[in-house]
Symmetry: none
Subunit: 401 residues, 2 copies
């Protein structure tokens, strides 16, 4: 039995509040063997205080050795087994730009490409055309009309944009039209199953009309479609946890992921300070709050150890404004590690602290990798964090008599 | 989704080298409560140095409390879930004597037995006949001829031998012919499914001819067949990990297990020194090296604590000749524990160290059970060791965007 099947039958309601603060890419590595990680280097008196009164551990985002993207990383933290619940590429791309997918949508990632006189691809990325040039072209494609289908075209960056087809009964099992090589024309959209034939037909008509609209362009006179995907079927936080949940995030990707599990988007925060203000303003209205802090990841991706340290200290500084609300359960964790030494997401366990009245405190004195590996939560798969949160919030009854 | 389904889609190739040194039955127990295990007693400066710069943990071969045989023990280390991928008894016995099974083979473990004048079994093990007597008898059975079937008969030890039938389309769902009691005749081979009827017929004919060939014998004038099994369908290291893999082992069983996952057998090593020489000689040709050291297990099985300590020190002494190759990832582990106090395989976690540039070193100072239980790898199922190895070798890309 999956946790999401087990939990609904055990739920008991109460007035507890759960706050999950996700510092993206939180975990790290030392700059030299035996040194300290970014988190261990940072001065974090407030997180250390949490570590002392809470219970610590290392979260394994997916499975040992597996490095997750943001989608699986967050699904795990939200309690959805990231190997069972998949978000298709097109759906994730749409989510990442803040496009809220509906149940009748099929989204695809689109690339502008350059076609030669014979219609063969000469550049699969249209010379990595600048966003300022490509965005108006993407919007121009909104002129495509197909009867019975609502079509959305949204610019992303450089040669990339998103296309969403909205109509009843569209399957998403359609092959990519990108042949992955030059010197050949784009492939025709091909359906894998009967339900997707209509989608393939719509996609073909879209490409046809769009190519005509792009005819005069030098670089971006063609397009390919990849990663066709419907909105993933994720049960909501309300359904599986009985939680009215709010997401307080700055970036569209994380707002989008939260919407996929049915969280309400709260406020228009631009800074961590704003986010904590929103938490205060909405505290009475929700049971669960997801706060997302991006910069521990982006500084790690930049390979900037010192900047990541500073961002962690910035995070630490807002902790008192959260703890003054006295949430029943406060969790600080990350969706994966992003060591600045690797300039990328990694597989390493993610420092995690859960503070709650009955959490059974461990011996951890500092919030850092070396302490967390010896913590009371041990090394646990991220997908178990929500059941621990619910238990500590007094929201889970007994399993079996 | 199984790890072997997940990993192939994430692979990225590079020139890294992974060395996995398996000390069979490595884990142990102290001679009295509070004492030191064999590994903790041994003087192991080189393994300790690895523990200091690597990341340690305890490997759980199958699941907590489960003691594995050599087959599941190694399958786990090789990354094949030992509860999902099974090696039938007959196939393991054939593998153990160095018989390389083909796709069309069905192998069975055979026992010589003693039949009375009425054809009833009077001794199920033919008086535990000595190998010197039984081996020529087994070879005598090679005279059995069945049209359309290639038959192999290989001596094992005392009353035990192996029979392999090779023909297209043979099922392996055939009941044992050993009735597990005396005073009754051997059972006729009985098929569980249609595909195995031909196998049952062949087995019956084999038993018939063999019994005639043994007619004059006093002890071994009959035989029983058990554990009918085809070659297990294991995807290869190349298929699932993209690794060109070499096995450098001394004993047939471990060579055979490595062959089942598609490793090349390299060299004819007789000693650990030979094995390390082979590693050097073949280092450029492969991505992955499995080195197997038997004597930590056999001394444990003998109940000889001091001998096991010595064997561990022998193992420690070759570590510098491995580390001088600077493998990207070096793992030292075991397929299970064999505490000399128990004179047998056991369920206890197996000390494991993984050394690699970005392994996130832990606080372990000594390679031993007490340190490893607090190590950064935690207690992990052996089946995750390969994904950790690949990640540390930079061979695994991101899961999801």
């Amino acid at each position: 039995m999956d946790m999401l099947e087990l939990i609904p039958g055990l739920l008991q309601r109460n007035d507890s509040k759960i706050v999950m603060l996700v510092a993206d890419g939180l975990g790290g590595l030392p700059q030299q063997p035996g040194g300290k990680t970014e988190l261990e280097t940072a001065r974090t008196p407030n997180l250390d205080e949490l570590a002392r009164r809470g219970i610590c551990g290392l979260s394994i985002p997916v499975k040992p050795g597996i490095t997750p993207g943001s989608g699986p990383g967050h699904l795990g933290l939200f309690g959805y087994d990231p190997l069972k619940y998949l978000i298709g590429r097109g759906a994730l791309e749409a989510t990442g730009i803040g496009f809220e997918l509906q149940g009748n949508d099929v989204a695809a990632r689109a690339n502008f490409c350059t076609l030669d006189a014979e219609g063969k691809i000469s550049d699969r990325r249209a010379g990595r055309i600048a966003t300022e040039e490509s965005a108006p072209l993407a919007r121009k494609l909104r002129a495509v009309k197909i009867p019975g289908v609502e079509i959305f075209v949204e610019p992303v960056k450089e040669h990339r944009f998103v296309v969403v087809f909205r109509a009843a009964g569209l399957g998403d099992k359609v092959h990519d039209t990108d042949p992955q090589e030059t010197g050949v024309p784009p492939l025709a959209p091909k359906a894998h199953d009967a339900a997707s034939q209509q989608t393939a037909n719509i996609a073909a008509e879209f490409v046809d009309q769009a190519t005509k609209l792009l005819a005069g362009e030098k670089k971006a006179n063609g397009l390919t479609l990849r990663g066709f995907a419907a909105k993933p079927a994720l049960p909501s936080y309300e359904q599986v946890y009985g939680l009215k949940a709010a997401a307080i995030a700055v970036y569209p990707m994380y707002k989008g992921l939260a919407r996929l599990v049915g969280m309400d988007l709260v406020g228009q925060a631009q800074t961590l300070g704003d986010q904590v203000d929103m938490l205060h303003a909405n505290y009475a209205k929700y049971d669960f709050f997801f706060l997302h802090f991006k910069y521990t990841d982006s500084t790690g991706e930049d390979g900037n150890f010192d900047a990541k340290v500073k961002r962690i200290e910035e995070l630490d500084a807002v902790i008192p404004k959260i703890t003054e609300l006295k949430p029943s359960v406060l969790i600080v964790t990350g969706d994966h590690s992003t060591p600045s030494m690797l300039k990328a997401h990694s597989w390493h366990g993610v420092p995690t602290v859960l503070a709650a009245e009955h959490c059974r405190t461990d011996a951890c004195q500092r919030f850092g990798e070396a302490d967390c590996v010896l913590g009371g939560l041990g090394q646990f798969e991220a997908k178990y964090l929500m059941s621990l949160a619910l238990a500590n919030a007094g929201r889970l009854g007994k399993y079996g008599a």
